[in-house]
């Protein structure tokens, strides 16, 4: 799936994301941690200066995409008659089994779901090059909120309105938030990562 300058995410980052998600499933009943909520920054469309910047809750893309999509859809459709709580609980159980190894996820992808008419989507449609900034990122920090250490990630974004990646993110999101209207999936492909730990933008090398 790599190409056009797309590079694998730093393995340490991907492993940390998987650990963090496993931890939130076990300890926080799936409530997202700040570590999965980067800031997306992209040039403001039509303006010489300025950016659009917005925080998102991001996801990872499983390698067995279609199988996971099918499983999540089945959990939703078989459980929704009992209510969203039952679906949510089964979704959490499914995701506890999902977040075990970084090798189970696409090495270059990060995803999110946004309102189709949001300013961020408008900006990403105009300019695919963007940056994801993870403010909480430190594998050595075991505290609940993590230590502030900024990881700046250059990405190229695609706005998806259908297809297998869209379906996967859609059904994952539906498990926890129900059906949504007028949403698009943003598929970020990783280009390069920079670590600000030393007061500058140091390339991240695993």
């Amino acid at each position: 799936m790599l190409g056009d300058g797309v590079k694998p995410l730093p393995l340490s980052f991907l492993e940390w994301q998987v650990q963090l998600r496993a931890w939130t499933m076990e300890q926080r009943n799936g409530a997202p941690h700040a570590g999965v909520a980067p800031l997306v920054t992209v040039r403001r469309p039509g303006a010489a200066l300025g950016v659009v910047s917005h925080s998102i809750i991001c996801g990872l893309l499983p390698r067995d995409l279609d199988a996971k999509t099918k499983a999540w859809r089945e959990i939703y459709e078989s459980g929704i008659g009992e209510g969203s709580r039952a679906v949510y609980d089964r979704g959490i159980e499914s995701l506890k089994r999902c977040y075990r190894s970084a090798a189970d996820f696409d090495p270059s992808s990060i995803t999110t779901m946004l309102s189709a008419d949001s300013p961020l989507v408008e900006a990403l449609r105009a300019e695919a090059r963007c940056a994801l900034v993870f403010y909480v990122f430190d594998l050595t920090d075991r505290s609940e909120i993590g230590r502030f250490r900024c990881l700046h990630m250059d990405c190229r974004a695609s706005v998806l309105e259908g297809g297998s990646v869209y379906d996967n993110v859609h059904w994952h999101n539906t498990l926890f938030h129900g059906p949504t209207e007028d949403q698009v999936v943003i598929h970020f492909r990783h280009l390069a990562s920079w670590d600000t730990r030393f007061g500058g933008l140091a390339p991240v090398v695993d």
Partner: protein, 268 residues
């Protein structure tokens, strides 16, 4: 398996003027003789769902069946002999008396331009008696208190003599005694006539004491449905109402004690 009296099947509802669905993918079956309480915060979709169950709002997606047939395929008069609905803020023309209002509940049973039958008169008499409106029967609605008006509208729904009653906050604007009075009457109607009742309520303890099942709506979705002791718990109160609370049973009754606003990280 018996056919439900009413069955909402994965309905999405968007009231006129709304840009978004206010009810999303909700399924709910109501069987003969059961009381289902709809509970949830303001704006969670209770009234919209009741309106759709009462054929006052067409689903954008999904369908609603009454005894196995799409409600929109029933003739209005046939449907009105099956299902009576009391909206949250009912209105009528000025100058109408309590007795006239209650008698209008017999329209689905009467032929045009025929006088009321003995059965019609008996149904009106019984409904007025059941809601203790005898002394008020000649009074016009605008001269009544809010609680009295509510009882008059409830009497109209009873006079309709349907196997299903849909009641949107029937205890709103009533004092404590009249709230319990209305709930006791609903329980009796349910027991005596096996009328299925779907009722929206804000008071969880009232819902638990009255209903066989409680359906909890949260942001337009069905959060959970089931026996009160199964679905009304501390996790639900945190997720849906955003409060930390204690749920306990005292003398066979459910007691809900709200302690404080919930930690927003824990509330979904």
């Amino acid at each position: 398996m018996t056919v439900p009296m009413l069955h909402a099947q994965r309905v999405h509802l968007r009231p006129p003027g709304s840009e978004r669905d206010v009810v999303r993918d909700v399924s709910l079956a109501v069987h003969a003789g059961e009381i289902v309480a709809l509970v949830g915060p303001n704006g969670s979709g209770k009234s919209t769902l009741l309106a759709a169950l009462g054929r006052a709002l067409r689903p954008r997606l999904g369908r609603i069946e009454a005894t196995g047939t799409d409600v929109w395929r029933h003739a209005p008069r046939t449907f009105a002999r099956q299902v009576a609905r009391m909206p949250q803020d009912p209105s009528c023309v000025e100058g109408i008396s309590v007795e006239q209002l209650v008698a209008s509940g017999r329209h689905p049973h009467r032929r045009a331009l025929t006088p009321p039958s003995a059965a019609d008169r008996a149904a009106v008499r019984e409904a007025i008696a059941a809601l203790e409106l005898g002394d008020l029967r000649g009074r016009t609605l605008e001269t009544l208190s809010g609680g009295e008006r509510r009882r008059a509208w409830l009497a109209l729904a009873l006079a309709q003599e349907t196997p299903v009653l849909l009641l949107d906050e029937p205890t709103a604007a009533l004092d404590v005694r009249h709230q319990w009075d209305v709930l006791a009457r609903l329980a009796r109607i349910n027991q005596d006539r096996r009328v299925a009742i779907v009722v929206s309520l804000h008071d969880l303890e009232q819902a638990a004491s009255l209903a066989h099942r409680v359906a909890i709506l949260h942001r337009g979705r069905l959060y959970a449905a089931g026996a009160p002791e199964r679905v009304i718990d501390e996790a639900m109160l945190c997720d849906v109402f955003g409060v930390d609370a204690r749920v306990a049973k005292e003398d066979g009754r459910m007691r809900v004690q709200v302690l404080r606003p919930a930690d927003p990280v824990r509330a979904l």
